[in-house]
Each structure stands twice: as structure tokens, then as C-alpha cells.
């Protein structure tokens, strides 16, 4: 259902206004660092970790996997613009041929299947490592998710937006309850990150996972935390959600992969 109130760009600017008023002394670009924009003690620990970041091994493994030719002699570089280097900011993108949102992880597996390879598991492991490498090559680029002049694309954006703001699960939380209304506040022992910049730093090495994981893994985890049954990774629901969330971070510098608690 189309939103009668605002265009995606108006949504993005209204969101920035919201956080500007809520945190008048904060450089909004800092919100790309999640909870570390709000929690000074945690930020200091995080900065120390960045000297020897836990995602470093994943980036190296990802680079090796990325450069490993497929059995047919081709490689990931053949599937992506600019050989797959420095392009993370363009994802998710709307594929007008298939009429669906394509995340970077989906594109990686589509590349594999197009070249006769088995798809990789979605949430962790080699797929996340390749995504980490591609994110690393894109650091500093500004998020640039495009919504083409196609009603299907705007419908996908609006579906993601509705999902973000809709309460669900036995605990009846919407994503925005934590990451907009309560951003910067404590939920048990954790400081809640803000919605702005939430998509800039994926995939993420989470200490609680002990490995690098994709944004879909986090979506599933968040769903389960509010006692909503998680969707399958890379489901249409999650891809649309990532599309909306990423558009909201347009203009912000990519800083993935990242480490989090």
C-alpha cells in the first residue's frame, strides 16, 4: 500500500530530523557505529578492538574465496560491476527484470548458481566472508540505494517500511520501538543502536555469535527476541526490509564489516 504521507527521500530526511532533535549534539554520521555512538565506555573498548578487529580473518578468507575461480573458469568478478570492488553501497538494488529486491548476499549466490556452483548458506560462513570482503573494499563510499521509477520497487520499499514500523511477536515490538523510540537507551545491559546508519556496517562479527554473520541473521535474531517466528533468510520480507533500512542510510559512509558485542 503506497504511503500517502511521504516519498522515500522525505522519509529519509524526516528520520534525520527526528534523530537531530533527539540527539542535538550528535554528529548523525556517528550513528553508523551503532550503539558506540551513544555508549562512551563501550565505544572505548570497541576502538581498542579495532586495532586487531575480529572480522579481519573473515575479510581475508572472503578475499581468497572471492578470487577463487569457479569450476567453469569464471569468478565473482564476472558477475558484478567494477569486478565486485567498491560496489557495496549499491545494494540492495531493485532488479526490474525479476521484479524483486536483490541484496548483495542474494547476488553472490545468484552468481554462483549462474556459474554452476551450489549456493552457500545464507547466514554465516563463506557467504558472509565474501560479503565482508566486498564491504571492506567499499569502505568510505556513501550508501546509494536507488528506488527506480517502477511501482514494484516503491511497493517493495513501502513493504519494508511497513514491516519496520509494525509491532509483532508475543512481546509486540516493532523494530522502531527499540531503534527509534528507544535508541540510545538501555535494554537490559545493552545500549540500543539507532535506525539511522543501521545498514552501513554489515556483515558484522558479533561476539555473541563468535563469527561473522549477515544482516539477515540479525533480522532472524531480532524477530526471535520479540518472540516472532523468524522468516527464512533472504525471504521477500527480509529483502524488502533491508531495502527500506538501507535507503534510510543513504548518504552515510559504509563502514563494514564491523564488530559488535
Amino acid at each position: 500500500m503506497a504511503n500517502a504521507f511521504a516519498t522515500p527521500e522525505q522519509d529519509r530526511l524526516a528520520l534525520r530530523e527526528f534523530f537531530s532533535k533527539r540527539f542535538p549534539k550528535l554528529d548523525l554520521n556517528e550513528m553508523a557505529n551503532g550503539l558506540y555512538a551513544f555508549d562512551e565506555g563501550a565505544r572505548e573498548q570497541w576502538l581498542e578492538m579495532e586495532d586487531f578487529p575480529p572480522y579481519e580473518i573473515a575479510v581475508e578468507a572472503g578475499e581468497e574465496a572471492f578470487n577463487q575461480p569457479f569450476a567453469n573458469g569464471k569468478g565473482y568478478a564476472d558477475c558484478f560491476e567494477n569486478g565486485g570492488i567498491g560496489i557495496r553501497q549499491n545494494y540492495p538494488r531493485f532488479d526490474t527484470d525479476s521484479g524483486q529486491v536483490v541484496t548483495l548476499e542474494l547476488a553472490i549466490n545468484q552468481c554462483r548458481e549462474a556459474n554452476g556452483e551450489e549456493p552457500l548458506p545464507w547466514l554465516t560462513g563463506e557467504l558472509a566472508e565474501i560479503s565482508a570482503y566486498m564491504a571492506y573494499t567499499s569502505r568510505g563510499n556513501e550508501m546509494n540505494v536507488v528506488i527506480p521509477d517502477d511501482p514494484r520497487a516503491i511497493a517493495a520499499y513501502e513493504a519494508g517500511k511497513e514491516y519496520y514500523y509494525t509491532r509483532r511477536g508475543q512481546l509486540e515490538f516493532a523494530c522502531e520501538n527499540c531503534h527509534m523510540q528507544s535508541a540510545g537507551n538501555l535494554l537490559r545491559a545493552d545500549t540500543l543502536s539507532g535506525m539511522l546508519g543501521q545498514a552501513t556496517h554489515w556483515p558484522v562479527y558479533r561476539s555473541k555469535w563468535g563469527e561473522i554473520g549477515t544482516l539477515n541473521k540479525r533480522f532472524q535474531e531480532c524477530n526471535e527476541q520479540v518472540r516472532a517466528k523468524a522468516y527464512e533468510p533472504q525471504s521477500e520480507v527480509y529483502r524488502n526490509l533491508e531495502y527500506f533500512l538501507s535507503y534510510m542510510s543513504n548518504g552515510m559512509e559504509l563502514n563494514g564489516p564491523a564488530s559488535r558485542r
Binding site: N3, F5, A6, Q10, D11, L13, A14, L15, E17, F18, K161, E162, Y165, T166, R167, R168, G169, Q170, E172, A174, E176, M180, Q181, N223, E224, R227, A228, K229, Y231
Partner: protein
Amino acid sequence: MAADQAESEPALAGAQETLRDAATRVQLWTTSDQLLQSAAEAAASGDYDLAIRQLEEAELHAQLALATAEREKTVWQKSVPKPDHP
């Protein structure tokens, strides 16, 4: 009167169908699957009263998930920040 196997098996099948149908329309609670699993285990151990109660609970949770989704259709937009200068 205590429930028996003859009652619990169709009740389990009915609850599974109810949840399958609800899942096509809404994101169910994680508790629904847990209750179905628990009901199946209770039935397997012969505690059919418990199995029936848990199946009824599972179906109630599905109905509540549907009710939340129905309500949210009309209220979610209130949470979206509006531009100060549209």
C-alpha cells in the same frame, strides 16, 4: 472427563492446520511451534489432557498474532516520522 488419544490426534491435526493457515497471513509467535511440539510430546506420553490444553493455547497464540497484525494495519503509520516541511 479425561481426554484420550482419539481426541488428541484430530485436535493436533486441527491445530497444525490452523497454524499453517495463520502463517500464510501473519508472522506467528515462536510460542506456537513450541506449544505444538510440547502437545505432541504430551500426547506421546499419554497425557492427553495436557496435550489438548497446549493445542488450544497454540491456537490462541495464533489468533492473538492475527489480531495484532489486524490492529497494526491501521496504526503503524502513526509511528513514521513526518517531515517538518513536506
